[in-house]
Symmetry: C2
Amino acid sequence: MQFEITREYIEQLNQLIEEKNKKEVKKLMDDLHPADIAEMMEDMSMEQAKFIFLLLDGEHASDVLVEIPENERKRFLKELPADLLASKFIEFMDSDDAADVVSELEEEKKIELLNEIEDFEQAGDIVDLLEYEEESAGGIMAKELVKVNENWTVATCLKEISTQAEEVDEIYYIYVVDDAEKLLGVLSLKELITTRTNTKISNIYNPDIKMVNTDVRREEIAEIMDKYDLVAIPVVDEIGRLKGRITFDDVIDFVREEAEKDYQMISGITGDVEPGDKIWEILRARLPWLLIGLLGGILGAVVLGSYEATLSKVTELAFFIPLIMAMAGNVGVQSSAIVVQSIASGVKDFESTSRKLFKEVAIALVTAAIFASLIFIYNTVRQGDMNLTYTVSISLFIVILFASIFGTVIPLVLNRFKIDPALATGPFITTMNDIFGMMIYLLIGQVFFSIL
Amino acid sequence: MQFEITREYIEQLNQLIEEKNKKEVKKLMDDLHPADIAEMMEDMSMEQAKFIFLLLDGEHASDVLVEIPENERKRFLKELPADLLASKFIEFMDSDDAADVVSELEEEKKIELLNEIEDFEQAGDIVDLLEYEEESAGGIMAKELVKVNENWTVATCLKEISTQAEEVDEIYYIYVVDDAEKLLGVLSLKELITTRTNTKISNIYNPDIKMVNTDVRREEIAEIMDKYDLVAIPVVDEIGRLKGRITFDDVIDFVREEAEKDYQMISGITGDVEPGDKIWEILRARLPWLLIGLLGGILGAVVLGSYEATLSKVTELAFFIPLIMAMAGNVGVQSSAIVVQSIASGVKDFESTSRKLFKEVAIALVTAAIFASLIFIYNTVRQGDMNLTYTVSISLFIVILFASIFGTVIPLVLNRFKIDPALATGPFITTMNDIFGMMIYLLIGQVFFSIL
């Protein structure tokens, strides 16, 4: 029932491309959804991808272009001349997608393309959209939408919508405006269909509508649409005039991308990599974070080196270094992850920062007490040196406390300075906590073994 | 423009609840969106939450009930008698939400409630839905949808839809079926509005429709809806009869929850915790993973203890334990994260497992060579013991290779056995790699310092 792109299918397609069999390739492509074509093009060489792409009809091709991930699209757009882009692809796109594509071009090509667009109104819409900041409601919204005047009747509306709908892919909601274009409310298609045709719109529209201003940021829009289960949300300017709308597909992609970015940060990977990527792409994403680990490890060696006398006198002290490091790292990652996730989810909370810190300290105290006791019991049962037993338990207590606070505070501070708090998760926080943890441990060890 | 729940608002509300001022509280609540009420109820005591909830009208209350997260709803439902649930809340719900709520009740209460529902058809729908597996299309879908017969005209359709739409919150798509209820295609409201009223549906519907079978799993549904930007997808049985539909809001929540779960796994937290949660809830989510870290640390101490002679003879060997551990941990987390994320994203890849492993080994070899060289240069420059220099470089090479393969294979194996591969990320993989890394390091150290 569901069409599946199999390995055999791809082999057949590659064969046909190699034979330059335009007719058969086009026939295969015409049956495919744009998202499927875009997915296959990602795994092809530029030559192959171009061959397929230029065979498609304008509308189909423009849908494919929208589905290609931004990075690869940038490279792809370089290969296409501006006049072809304008006449064959941009023309078929919604204004938000067109603005995205245009913004990815080099300055010169951008201007050339904008002047090549025949539909002057569309070119104007694109230029308008490019004025807004990329991550704001204005930068994401599409100009295409269906709106009706509050003074019209249902019959007039239905007629008007038929005309307006030609430019809009999916209607979802009908926005109701006054004579000054101010957004008043919303009308669902359902209401329109189920109401008598001579009813006036002002009598049936729903004034209880969620909207956002053009400068609201993408995170907040995602949060509102998700919370209220909205398929689309209207965008208005400072004086409430309807400017555009944002649909759910733009927001889903964003939510997914943000979640992936945080996941990659905590696992020490930069950028979006998959096992299917090229080896050097994967390496580039992984090496920087490992370098942090290496530098941390060297710093750790220097720290331990400075305690050489202590360690050679009391070798057993070295045995519990892994334990101290593991606990410091794990506690730090947990604390930072909770903070980062709560910032990312955008959930309103009414706790002040001081109350948050107080709570984290309370949690850390309980955790520290539990694990210090457990390791105390272990070391007592195995009848180890009592000095070592005290050293390990007391330093584990302090290290857990320290790592918790550190893991909570650093992301909060980064966020305050508008730096992505996710930077403070993963290898970064682990490395910092490892080093501080060892220093605390060895200092306490020196006290108990009277080496100071 | 956007209503904000402030701390002042909540204080005012709490004040009114304390005074048992039903009239004022109800007035405040009637202006709020169900999602906002549900959010506030989460921070209230059971008594307060019940007080508010029982003031609401049936329809409003049922919407609030749907918005409460499952865990808290379960506790809340225990407080409400079955007959009240049936008459005041379930009646207003879509079949999928009603089935969710009913499935959370204890067996006895469930049967009592089902028999209390006055609308026999609705009770039947709920019982039907409960038959499906919870995570399958059948278990998620709602029975409410709008469908038309291919032989009708547009005029008949519009009339029929007015009737059917009463039960459906949002129409999104109109499904076209034949006389045997077999799903043939889809009609957008836009087409219906823009087509002449005497046209036959069979001439205008779009037969190119994505659909899923009742037993398709939630992951796959999310993937299809996301890829093709669908607001809703129809669900059919084995012989293609239309059974229900799934809307985007069910899928967004799922995508978000899955991403959060993976994030929590890698950061060593179980369950959904936020800084605003109670202290014991946060502790319960964190302690189990820290216990793994503690056990790993103790095992590490045992391993190092078994090399006591070596370590007391060559104290410098201890200096590089943190480096080996940090690199093993970071490499392992990276490898496992890439595998887990690619499994979660559900992206089709045509690489065989053996090719994946081959590539991971290639990446690991390059990484290992780079970092072994770097640490070799560092140790040579600082003119350390040459035996130590060789030991650290060679063991770092082997440890990185080992940790990469281990981090890649374990999640793949778990996934093969239908266990969540995310289990193999975070504290688990770090702890395993720490221990193996140290063993490799000390063994090689013994060779170079001829202690074996």
